[in-house]
C-alpha cells in the first residue's frame, strides 16, 4: 500500500500538469486568434470612420453577449464563435476612439505606445505568474471591490466631467486589470479543472482591452496636443 502511494501521487500530478498545459495552450491560442481578428475589425472601423455612437453600441452588445450568451455556450464548440463575436465587436467599437487619437499631431505615436505598453504589461505579468506558479487567488476580493469603486466613479464622472478624476480612474483601471491578469493566469495554473479556456480567453481579452483603452487615455492626456 505504502509503495503505491507515491505512484498514485505522481500519476495525479502528471494528469494535472497535462490539464494545465491544455488549458494554457488553448487559452493562449484562442487569445492570439481573437486579437488578430479584433485588430482587423478595428482597422475596418477606423477606415470606415464610424460615428462615436458605434463605441457604445458595440461595447453594449458585446457585454450583453458576455452576460447572457457566453455562459450557455462556454462548454460547447459554438463558444469559440461567441468569443470571436465578442472580440470582433469590441475591436470594431474602438474604431471611432482610435480615429480621435489618430487625428492628433502625434496620434500614431500615442496609439503605438499604448499598444506596445499593453503588450509589455500583459507578457510581463502573465509570464511572471506562469514562471513562478504563485497563487494570486487571494487578490480576487480586493480586485473586484476596486472594480466596483472604479465603475461607481466612472458613473459619477459621466455627469461631473472632472478630467483629473477621469485620469485617476484610468490609472486605477490599469492597476485592477493588471491584478486580474495575475489572478486569471494563476487560476489556469492552480484550478485547471474549473478554468474553462473560452471563459479564460474572454477574461484575459477584457483585461488587455481595458488596459489599452486606459493607457490610450493617459498617454493622450499627457501628450502636448
Amino acid at each position: 500500500m505504502r509503495q503505491n502511494a507515491p505512484v498514485i501521487e505522481r500519476t495525479r500530478t502528471s494528469g494535472q500538469s497535462i490539464e494545465i498545459n491544455k488549458v494554457l495552450k488553448n487559452t493562449y491560442l484562442l487569445l492570439s486568434a481573437t486579437f488578430l481578428f479584433s485588430a482587423a475589425m478595428a482597422t475596418v472601423s477606423t477606415y470606415l470612420y464610424m460615428p462615436p455612437m458605434t463605441y457604445l453600441i458595440c461595447i453594449g452588445l458585446s457585454f450583453a453577449i458576455i452576460w447572457f450568451v457566453l455562459p450557455r455556450t462556454a462548454n460547447s464548440g459554438s463558444g469559440v464563435l461567441v468569443v470571436f463575436a465578442i472580440t470582433g465587436l469590441m475591436g470594431f467599437g474602438i474604431g471611432p476612439l482610435l480615429n480621435q487619437y489618430l487625428a492628433m499631431s502625434n496620434g500614431s505615436q500615442i496609439v503605438g505606445t499604448a499598444l506596445g505598453g499593453t503588450g509589455v504589461i500583459f507578457f510581463a505579468l502573465s509570464g511572471y505568474a506562469l514562471m513562478t506558479k504563485k497563487d494570486f487567488s487571494f487578490m480576487g476580493g480586493f480586485l473586484l471591490v476596486g472594480l466596483m469603486i472604479a465603475i461607481v466613479a466612472s458613473l459619477a464622472n459621466i455627469f461631473l466631467h472632472i478630467s483629473g478624476l477621469s485620469l485617476a480612474i484610468s490609472s486605477v483601471v490599469i492597476m485592477i486589470m493588471s491584478g486580474f491578469i495575475l489572478y486569471d493566469t494563476s487560476q489556469m495554473i492552480h484550478k485547471p479543472e474549473s478554468a474553462n479556456y473560452i471563459l479564460m480567453t474572454v477574461s484575459l481579452f477584457l483585461n488587455i482591452f481595458n488596459i489599452f483603452i486606459s493607457l490610450l487615455h493617459i498617454l493622450g492626456f499627457s501628450s502636448d496636443d
Binding site: F63, W67, G141, F159, I174, L182, L215, I218, S222
Partner: protein, 59 residues
Amino acid sequence: MDWMKIGSAVLLIMMLFMVYPRVKHELKHGKKGSQKEWIGGLALLGGVAVFVWLLAKSM
C-alpha cells in the same frame, strides 16, 4: 451626446448589478492572502504603475 451619456450610465449600472454578486461571493469565500503574498502582489502592481508613469513622461 446626451444619448451617449445615458447609454454609458445604463451600461455601467448593469455592470454594477452583474459584478455585485461575484464581489459578495469572493469576499465571503475567497482565499485570504498572507502579508508576504500581499507585498509580492502589490509590488508587481507598483511596477506597472512606475512603467505607466514612465510611458506618460516619454510622451
